[in-house]
Symmetry: C2
Subunit: 612 residues, 2 copies
């Protein structure tokens, strides 16, 4: 009996210890979950949360972002992080909760692509700052040039998860509109690493060409990431949920809280891609009635409705809630950063997982100045560069799962490939499934992994084509080089025997290897350009000649005359084996050494120069 | 002016959208953060949360756990998960919040090692179940054989994060005490994978030898993971925070909420490892007074106190709040599962990070039945096997950062090593820094990574010693084999020439290779055992002889007589080069073919047999 008594007391004892945990307490104890697992990461995470907010706010207000970031060293352990933007500002009564309450925000309930989505990030930075330095967050915001700016200092009361304002003043401010946050926190400032504030801002700037970002390091060094484009990306629109992939619980909660009076209106008004016809079809399939009150649907009826969703086809979700970087922008940025010889990028069509639309973009850069080693992987989610947790990210797993050997790269099974390549993956979604609140890695959602694989396989195929073509060209070049060495000797011998003038070996080489051959013959002030198509396909070729002084030609496609010189243009359509003769006369001199040719790969051209 | 107006409206518009987000809503939308990113993982996570709770409850109540897990297939998409334990039960008024409110629990505020620590897990399982199936959770609990069991069905109201009971009854139940939970959820049941319910339960059983776990699969197959030890592990004690590593914000909140009246009592009562003397030293260093009221300390004074903590030495945190698996248990389990030829395990001393005590255990198994490939890594945290997110786990990173080549394994830089090895890492802490609420990976906390590295380097050194010794023995064996082939011929020839009786080659071989050599010479009913130590070190050797019938000896260390036979034991201490002669007479016969020897490796023994 003794032991039974003891055991009964245990349940009572345990019951006494049961307590509610405030979300702020929870994150105070688990700050690593928010990205604050070590001092150098802490600074990067703070900057990132503030900059993400600034970019989102500017995007929502259609303002070209002008963002200023400064990091000051306070003493050996503490730094002050300042982030300032020219966004719309925040109305005063919202400032305390926006910065001083976890799980509070405007973007959580909206189905629209945005950087922030959880209502945690910036308050978490405030929490970390006060936890380590004991100092309040200092916020300045101004919503109009007609009003003064408001400056608030606040703490988070962690037991209640509520803001506590310790100071408020109205001040003059140098910006007519915008928001500024200053945080003091325990940290460690690092430079020249992949994981650094500088890298984060640089990569952010790359995928946000419409933003200007200035950055002052603790030692005073100023970096300017310039605005490259004055065009605002179209702001993503807010949309309603898509019927595919919605969960039963979610559907039931929507049924309960809808303001519509009948099931038909409920379907049409609360979902995208449901019109009158489809609404009726779904209701019929579910064995329900269109005039039923949605609030009164039983669990079983909700299950039928969900099953009817599943067996009905809908248009894919609208794409205007998503804002891709764009294949061209990705290509440009890869080209600029890595100086490769080959780039291919792709933007896939939007798809849906658990009612959230998403789309995947990918790019591969190859060769050129990229060195031969384990492939560098650049991961982005909603235009935010992901610098941490590469190993724990579904995007990485997707890259590793592709069989890169068949696309010309080296690879150990299920690892990142090796070779002279850089791979970029971007996933944009109304709800990125991050593995944790720190937004460092994407969770392994099968639909997303599949799309990333498809995008990469497309990149892989193009890469393989390029590598194959390059190999063929190398072989061709070798053959050509060999011919060039042997032929002149042979030709000389031959012409001696035949007592003829020497042969044009270039012509012979071009004919043997199957190139386009161009030769210019000048006689006094008349020139003739011969163009031979020795390749196996029909070619559209443009030939240019640039001369100083007056020029006259019998036939040409275009002539561009400057004050003192002129350019002649011929557009030719040559079948395999065809030849064209272009003639002209000139008074001054020909400026280009060889005829300039457009429309032929350099490796397939003999005698001319690829130009213009 | 037009555009200014528009922009001002934006701030107002944005303000209107600001809303509070309930933690349940947050996790409903981000269920992957809790480990519900795909249907097969969902079932494993549910089982894991329930079993973790059962093991914790039994541990707290000092009950040998008897846990029953069953998974039933409801239809093609839905499964029912049932977990039942013989724990202390839960008092009725606590059931709704314990299962139906996120961030509620008894273990969050306690500094003590436990599987659950966040107050999220089981409520998250309830949330996922209702979200996917629309069905309530069904909970049965009984706290005493004198009371009836209570059965509740409940939902979580996600907008409020509060439980809603839909059914309550008192029932007869087959257990006198315990808790049972039944959940119906969308899932996918998989077998024969590393990531499966079976594997999770098997690995859990391995590190919880005192638990009995029964598991019924959907097809009815019953698995029994037996209780191997009747000893309860000492239950971890709850402790106060350690002064090292505490953060300023935390200290300030402790100062505010303490019930102590003066600073000296505050330090002594709210921290471990602070006695009267040390309290005075800290106060003096901080430039404060012992009778100050802790509640009235300013921020600056708190900073001084914290700095005084940092510059003072304290005893390491007490270890009784931690419950290691134990190096022996780890060794046993590695031996049993992998049948290696070599095992080394270690339990490190407790250390502290951010005021949380932790300790690291590691083990390595090598050779035997382990196949040659990428090393398998087993990760555990607070005795929970971690099956997911290997790539994103600091334990993995720590293993990869060790230079395994110097310990005899193959390795590409910063990858898992390859070779015939299995590596196990366990971290036990009062607060495991998981990277997310799903408890799948440990965050990169430098103190933990360092300890794991040290533990693994110790394992590595032992492995290297073993591999080197093995190589030496292989060489020695080869030499010995060669001598055995050549010597007899040589000896025969020699004895023919010298006309002497044949030499004992075993003796010669043993002398050349440096072995212990044992030979028994029997003459009628007298036996002599000669023991030569040809090795280079002093040896403690035991020699056994077993005879049927009567035995007599002049000198022996021990004699064990049975009804019909006897064992003679000699304990010898032989210096290099020494020899001992053991003589005895017998009436029956000698039972062992060769003398049995203890204290010599088989590879270093000639003439005898390693035995007993």
């Amino acid at each position: 009996m003794e032991s039974v008594k003891i055991k009964e007391e245990v349940a009572e004892e345990l019951a006494k210890k049961q307590r509610e945990i405030s979300i702020a307490e929870f994150f105070e104890k688990n700050k690593h979950i928010l990205g604050y697992s070590n001092p150098s990461k802490a600074i990067i995470t703070c900057v990132r949360e503030a900059v993400d907010n600034s970019l989102d706010a500017c995007e929502e207000a259609s303002i070209l972002p002008d963002i200023f970031v400064r990091i000051d060293k306070v003493d050996s352990k503490f730094y002050r992080v300042t982030v300032e933007d020219n966004g719309p500002g925040i109305v005063e009564k919202q400032i305390p909760k926006a910065f001083g309450k976890l799980l509070y925000g405007s973007r959580f309930h909206a189905i629209r692509q945005s950087r922030g989505q959880q209502g945690i990030g910036i308050s978490a930075a405030v929490l970390y700052a006060q936890l380590t330095s004991g100092k309040p967050a200092r916020i300045i915001s101004r919503t109009s040039p007609d009003k003064k700016a408001v400056k608030l200092e606040l703490y988070i009361n962690t037991k209640k998860n509520e803001p506590e304002i310790v100071k408020r003043e109205e001040i003059d401010w140098h910006l007519s509109r915008g928001t500024r946050i200053e945080l003091e926190l325990a940290g460690n400032y690092v430079r020249e690493r992949k994981q650094s504030v500088y890298e984060y801002l640089k990569e952010t700037s790359v995928v946000n060409p419409h933003a200007k970002i200035s950055f002052v390091e603790p030692d005073g060094t100023l970096h300017e990431f310039k605005r490259v484009s004055d065009e605002l990306p179209p702001p993503p629109k807010e949309v309603k949920p898509h019927p595919h992939g919605i969960e039963l619980g979610q559907l039931m909660s929507m049924l309960k809280s809808t303001k519509t009076k009948d099931l038909r209106s409920f379907l049409k008004q609360e979902f995208v891609r449901i019109g009158d016809k489809i609404a009726m079809r779904v209701i019929e399939r579910a064995g329900l009635k269109p005039d039923m009150s949605p609030q009164l649907l039983s669990r079983e009826e909700a299950v039928s409705l969900l099953n009817a969703f599943m067996s009905t086809e809908f248009l894919p979700p609208p794409t205007n809630c998503l804002s891709p970087i764009g294949a061209d922008n990705i290509a440009k940025s890869l080209q600029e950063r890595f100086k490769p010889e080959f780039v291919y990028t792709t933007t896939r069509k939007p798809r849906v997982y658990s009612a959230h639309p998403f789309l995947v973009e990918a790019g591969i850069a190859y060769g050129g100045e990229i060195s031969e080693e384990k492939v560098q992987l650049l991961r982005y989610a909603n235009k935010i560069p992901l610098l941490y947790q590469q190993g724990g990210c579904a995007l990485t797993k997707a890259v590793e799962s592709v069989r890169w050997k068949s696309y010309g790269l080296q690879q150990n099974r299920d690892e990142l490939p090796s070779g002279k390549a850089v791979i970029l993956v971007h996933v944009a979604s109304t709800n990125i499934p991050y593995t944790s609140e720190s937004k460092e890695a994407v969770a392994s959602v099968p639909e997303i992994v599949d799309e990333v694989r498809l995008a990469l396989q497309e990149c892989g195929r193009k890469l393989k084509e390029y590598i194959d073509r390059k190999e063929r060209l190398v072989k061709r070049r070798k053959k050509e080089d060999l011919l060039r060495k042997v032929l002149p000797l042979l030709a000389k011998k031959l012409s001696e025997i035949l007592e003829e003038s020497e042969l044009d070996h270039d012509l012979i080489v071009a004919r043997i290897v199957g190139n386009v051959y161009v030769r210019r013959i000048v006689d006094n002030c008349r020139a003739k350009v011969e163009v031979y198509n020795f390749t196996h396909s029909k070619r559209e070729i443009e030939v240019y000649e640039m001369c100083r002084g007056e020029v006259a030609a019998e036939k040409y496609t275009g002539k561009i005359s400057g004050s003192d010189n002129a350019i002649l243009v011929w557009k030719l359509n040559l079948n395999p084996g065809d030849m064209a003769e272009l003639t002209y006369s000139f008074k001054g001199k020909i400026l280009n050494k060889k005829p300039l040719v457009k429309g032929v790969d350099r490796d397939m051209l003999t005698g001319g120069e690829v130009g213009l």
